[in-house]
């Protein structure tokens, strides 16, 4: 079930994506540490959309598997894509002035992390956190 969508277009939208993540995870009853992990991950990946693809979309969904409930968040852009996902996932790798901790860090914060990308087509990242 889709809980919310945030279009990333302006810098301010990174803040809006963060606020949306905060409200939704609170409503779903996530603990404080998990809320923080999710809000932080949303901030990192929304900024990547803004920085590298200029625009894109963040979709928040609730997911179920057996008795577990969780939140799945997709970050979709039609930007330049990633040349080497293997490199992008390395700690310290950045094509920008970044620290290159974003993608590998987000993976550590989440229960599920999947990134797919095609050059000149765009990038999609899906993350899930179970309650």
């Amino acid at each position: 079930m889709i809980l919310g969508v945030v279009e990333i277009f302006h810098e301010k939208d990174i803040v809006i994506a963060r606020q949306t993540a905060r409200e939704l995870t609170k409503d779903m009853g996530f603990g404080l540490v998990d809320q923080t992990r999710i809000v932080t991950a949303v901030s990192e990946l929304s900024r990547n959309i803004f920085k590298y693809a200029k625009s894109g979309r963040v979709i928040f969904e609730s997911v179920e598997s057996g008795k577990s409930r969780g939140i799945s968040i997709s970050f979709i852009d039609k930007g330049p894509g990633i040349e080497s996902i293997e490199n992008a996932m390395k700690e310290g790798f950045s094509t920008d002035k970044g620290m290159g901790l974003g993608l590998p860090g987000v993976k550590k914060l989440m229960d599920y992390f999947k990134i797919s990308s095609e050059l000149e087509k765009g990038t999609t990242v899906v993350i899930i956190k179970w309650k």
Partner: protein, 134 residues
Amino acid sequence: MKKVPILVIRNTLIICIQNDLTDTAILELQNDILDKTYKTRVNGVIIDISSLDMIDVFLGKVISDTTKMVRLLGAQAILVGMKPNIAITLIELGFEMPNVKTAIDVDNGLKILNKYEKYNATKVLEVTELSGED
């Protein structure tokens, strides 16, 4: 855009960073802190993050860079008031801020800065005493 108030108390700048600043606002705040440190000639800067409920890599890097810049200007910077949930997330992200001085709250931050300040004073006293006893 939100304005972040900067206080000056006892020769110390105190900045309380608020939630939901944009990246641009965060960089402007960094500029303001440095300008104010330079102009007011304070010797301590306390960055209070007790109102924050998230620090991502960008904000973490700006905070950590700011403390380094403040040190180059000639003042001491201390980060105070980080919440447990943020500390957990930062360490999981792999962001340790090894060279950033920390204190539990503004009060303890002031105490630590005062100690730094009085250090030289006591040292001078010390020498005076030494010479008196000779």
